[in-house]
Symmetry: C2
Subunit: 700 residues, 2 copies
């Protein structure tokens, strides 16, 4: 999925609400669980978690469960600072007396399957806790829930008394990482798998080949990785280790080798697979490119037979992703041999030719004991019913497939690279739209969804911050009951989970400061604070605007060291400011404490530019956001003027309002590929100041 | 070195200046180098560092240099965000055209020795850079200097044109890490070795055995680590890897096995080595304990012969540290066999007995091809001249040893666990005091120094923050010319280097937030900000006060999750506030801009407690600092009142002043083992307000 598909995807999505919806001020929920369980019954009191905490495994056990229990204790130790890790060995057999007794009924499948029992029941009382699950998969989910329950309290660390009965809404809850466009090293993959475990995702979809890189060691065809990867690839040992690592966390690994398009990197070492003449080099630019495999060549199928065979032995999962998206057909059109083949076989167009290719490859996958998963395009007449469609097109496409008897997962609406705020992803439901009208049997075919981290504008340095914390909201959408959909509750819990994810080694919160430090060089403490104040409220442009507004044509060698690469994709500070403004303007009787907080924030913004400008003169990377900094200052000034007008209690003049809104229109224009997020909230203040209004009840 | 030695050490040090000395406001130095080179000549212009940057190795080369060049490029890539790592392979052979041409003359010793040539010359022009060194040791130091030169500029990343001729003042520049009292995992050791490389330290002294743990796998005597470590020990493979890792960075690894005292953990598996009857268990408390090896037993020497032999084969360095400190002699006094032996051999007291032991062990070390290094106590009559004394006693002790012909290094004044601010360590010079009076030949025997990270109150989680950035100031003391001693310049550069050290994976800056997050649980953003405001200006109590004021007797199982464990050992915010106050009170004509900044800071402090108290009600760990929070509020109120009085231009009343100073006295008392650092600066404001004074020149 790159340019074309995405542009179509964008046009479908453009009807979505683009502004942050007014929502009730986030209230602290009783429990900071994410995803929210299917059923939670709160009890009285809480279970103390101190240095004497112990765990016992009962019923069915296996080394994976023992490792999970040790990992659980290590994580609990990290969360609390209690020296628990030391004790794991001693405590695991004191079954009767353990603080947390874990009962697992039986094994799960040797190779994890779609739809296995992942349920668990967690009972916490003031004296002890009991976790029960049919399989280790449920056990591991229950352990994560317990970790989220533990928090600091007035008397020590504790988990509240509670009874939780939980199971996932969908059996396929995935995260796709594109480690082909930019290579993502194994340790970064590992910590993201840790993050997936924490939010109960169970499929890691690994996008491994692209025009820009072939990332897997092939011993059968070593030229694939030797010539197609700039020496940035995963060895087979690394892959096997990662698969074991994922399995240990109840996570399947589905490899994707995109074909017949998105495959230039294959052709560097194996031009004979291509439909054009070559020679081919690793693609450095982004977009959809002409090179495609030759669907008319038996040599290609022989090669793929061997290649898929080799990969099928490395990746144990039942599903094998063959991509299938975005073939522009130009090489096919230009190749007389291919044209002759189409004529001879009555293939009318390139869609037909791709269907022919797809059918042939699917048979090869089947031959090696696997089932195919592919993007919408692989759904062609005659394909076997056990394929899975991954839909970038949306719920309508998914519903249509389901009616035809095919299973599918949704990715439309879950593209993390589009820079959407969490609430927008959260609002996307696989069962909405056309899917809502399906019969119960057809609905069964919608297996879940996958968030997608496409990597044109992602480096191994900032990829965590492009996935998290927003991916946790998608994980909740795919796990929790459909009724769980309040964005205010989601955000309150997301803040908490986001902080917790840091304990796993994810860098989504720390990396921004590291990257800003690079931009700031030898900035003074005050200058650096000013840079942070600015960076806290700007976000990269959304959807595919980044491609279209790039200062120079971006390539895989373009440094990702700009402010747009450093700031989070969603501004917490701007969201909180927006909530405060909503609270303030909701009534004509304005709350003085809220006003004071708004005024303090707006004053900081107004005065920030004066502090930051000297640094902009010394750093070309800060200089790039000098206009954004002026915008923030303008926003502060406008907001303060609005507050002053409101304080007077008389409607502001229309001319003044028009002038302020004109300023805001300028501020809203992206600069340096960055958006000034608090602008709409300040606009609300200006509109409130122009509306006037009298407080009929006295202020309290 | 634990309790006893330290208390003696403390009494020696108590005469040091204990308050932050008034210093000129930090000015941004021309170059952010640390340690400062022996000679720097600035040129005109700068060398651009962009994606075309390349490195060439000329002259003598070896795999270590190639790895160093690749590491250099990776580090430069991290610093700049430029995609340089990819290019290393291609660029290393384009010798003529490389941006940075490295010329190394010849190999250094296969096993790195004390006093090898570590010098280098670095020439940076606007067109290219040239690094020349006799040996790879100098080359590696020069590469670190180049990395520190590169900074963001108005036109891109650049290194200023400069000629640097550099060499260390002392040949022995070490960091000791005690990984025996608390185990420090290999990856944490590794990143600290990276930090040492960055500041040109060249000895990693590894304190490996203690009463509380024996941390090395012994294949000859496996009960040592199996029974003496709680399963927290380094395997021999891990040790070999770490030694290679250190050698790759020009760093020697000196192992320490402390004997005859500090050795309870040995006796758990081998009670026959002890002077008492046993049985022995791993010690959980801190302090000086009775167990000691039996100096009269030939079995002990046979055991040590075999053991030292085994370790000598693992650790290639010429020096082998045998500890030797703090034997209380109680087991010896109580053992009739030992008393009889002393009588028979004319040994008058326990000092004599330890000297006998020390002499025997030194012969064993010699037998295995090594030379002894030990704490002051190993200097006993008749020891060979090639031993090295590590002095916790101070320059006088060192000078005395030098006069007797012994070489030594200084650690007194460099104990990182005492929580001193960087300037205090920085002021300690190995050549001061008695050492300054030595002859040139005697001075040659003072080889340098070592900072010491004793680990009673250090976990693997926060150890980086207990070592860095202060250790960089000690590194400068040991590398740079003696005249380099301006603390303001040091601090300005330290800030910069501290941020840079984060790129190496050190967590000294980020860990504080992580740990505070744990304390804060589900705090609101405002509450968490308030906790940070408080934690930014408090420091753990100094010297050995933490032992004496512990709420319960601390043990190795005590959780280190309190505020005192989370805050940095030196407050940057308080230091900056102090500088601002000094600037403000320096003249009767007070600067309005400075006053505004002081007022903003004091207001934040004054209002902080109201925000923080609700969190203190919810978290027992925040509750612990509730009184500190009230103190900060009181400090803010007092400081603002002083500013108001100064603004009036009339001296404040004596009664008022007395009242304020009484409040400050309360604020200065440690609470929750934490000190309120800005108190003396606020006191200056109060005294200034009481002094009055008229501005004779108009404000500008």
């Amino acid at each position: 999925m790159a340019q074309n598909a995405r542009l179509q995807s964008l046009s479908i999505l453009v009807s979505c609400v683009l502004l942050y919806p007014a929502m009730t001020t986030a209230q602290q929920p009783a429990l900071n669980l994410m995803p929210l369980p299917a059923s939670v019954q709160s009890g009285a009191g809480s279970l103390r978690v101190d240095s004497s905490f112990s765990v016992a495994l009962m019923g069915y056990t296996e080394p994976r469960l023992e490792r999970a229990a040790e990992r659980f204790l290590r994580q609990l130790a990290r969360q609390t600072g209690l020296p628990l890790a030391l004790k794991s060995a001693q405590t695991r057999n004191q079954t009767g007396k353990a603080t947390l007794v874990i009962q697992t009924d039986h094994a799960s499948k040797e190779i994890q399957e779609v739809g296995e029992d992942e349920s668990y029941i967690l009972d916490v009382s003031t004296a002890s806790a009991r976790l029960r699950a049919s399989t280790p998969l449920g056990t591991m989910h229950g352990l994560q829930t317990f970790l989220q329950l533990v928090d600091v309290s007035p008397d020590g660390f504790a988990a509240p008394a509670v009874t939780i009965q939980d199971k996932p809404r969908f059996p396929w809850r995935g995260l796709m990482i594109d480690s082909a466009r930019h290579f993502i090293p194994p340790d970064v993959i590992r910590r993201n798998i840790d993050g997936m475990e924490a939010v109960k995702m169970n499929v890691f979809h690994w996008h491994l080949s692209e025009n820009q890189g072939f990332r897997v060691e092939s011993r059968k065809f070593p030229k694939l990785h030797e010539l197609g990867s700039d020496a940035l690839y995963y060895t087979q040992d690394e892959i096997r280790d990662l698969i074991v690592y994922a399995k240990d966390r109840g996570i399947r690994v589905v490899p994707e080798f995109d074909m017949p398009g998105h495959s230039t990197a294959w052709f560097v070492g194996h031009p004979e697979l291509a439909s054009g003449k070559g020679p081919y080099g690793i693609e450095r630019k982004w977009g959809v490119f002409d090179p495609a495999m030759d669907p008319t060549s038996e040599k290609v199928y022989k090669f793929l037979d061997d290649f898929i065979g080799e990969m099928a032995r490395i990746f144990p999962d039942h599903y094998f992703h063959i991509g299938g998206d975005e073939v522009n057909g130009k090489e096919w059109d230009a190749n007389p041999k291919i044209q002759a083949f189409m004529k001879a076989h009555g293939i009318k167009n390139n869609q037909g030719l791709q269907a022919y290719f797809s059918g042939r490859v699917q048979k090869l996958v089947l031959k090696h004991g696997k089932a195919v998963i592919g993007w919408d395009e692989v759904l062609v007449p005659g394909v076997p019913k056990d394929i899975v469609i991954q839909s970038w097109r949306g719920q309508a496409s998914l519903a249509q497939a389901a009616k035809q008897g095919f299973r599918g997962i949704l990715s439309n609406g879950y593209y993390l690279d589009l820079g959407w705020p969490a609430w927008r992803h959260y609002a996307v439901d696989p069962m909405s739209g056309d899917a809502a009208t399906l019969s119960a049997e057809e609905k069964q075919r919608i297996l879940g969804g996958e968030s997608c981290m496409w990597a044109e504008y992602v480096s191994s340095e900032n990829v965590d911050s492009r996935i998290w914390p927003r991916n946790a909201a998608i994980a909740e959408r795919l796990w929790s009951p459909q009724e769980v959909r309040d964005p205010a509750s989601m955000y309150a819990r997301l803040d908490f989970v986001s902080a917790r994810l840091e304990w796993l080694g994810l860098t989504h919160r720390t990396v921004s400061r590291h990257m800003l430090q690079r931009l700031a060089g030898s900035a003074s403490a005050a200058e650096f604070a000013a840079l942070r104040t600015l960076s806290d409220v700007i976000e990269p442009v959304k959807d595919y605007t980044r491609e279209r507004t790039a200062p120079a044509e971006p390539t895989s060698a373009t440094p990702m060291n700009r402010v747009v690469d450093a700031v989070p994709l969603e501004s917490d500070a701007a969201r909180r400011f927006g909530e405060l403004v909503d609270q303030f303007v909701a009534s004509a009787c304005h709350d003085a404490a809220v006003e004071a907080r708004l005024r303090a924030q707006l004053t900081t913004w107004r005065d920030n530019d004066a502090i930051l400008q000297p640094l902009a003169q010394r750093s070309f990377l800060v200089k790039e956001v000098a206009a954004n900094s002026q915008d923030l200052s303008a926003l502060g000034t406008a907001g303060l003027a609005a507050l002053d007008a409101i304080a007077k209690g008389q409607p502001a003049l229309d001319a003044w309002k028009a002038q302020q809104l004109a300023i805001l229109e300028q501020v809203k224009k992206p600069k340096a590929q960055l958006l000034m997020i608090p602008a709409p909230a300040v606009q609300k203040l200006i509109e409130a100041s122009a509306a006037g209004g009298t407080c009929s009840t006295p202020k309290t």
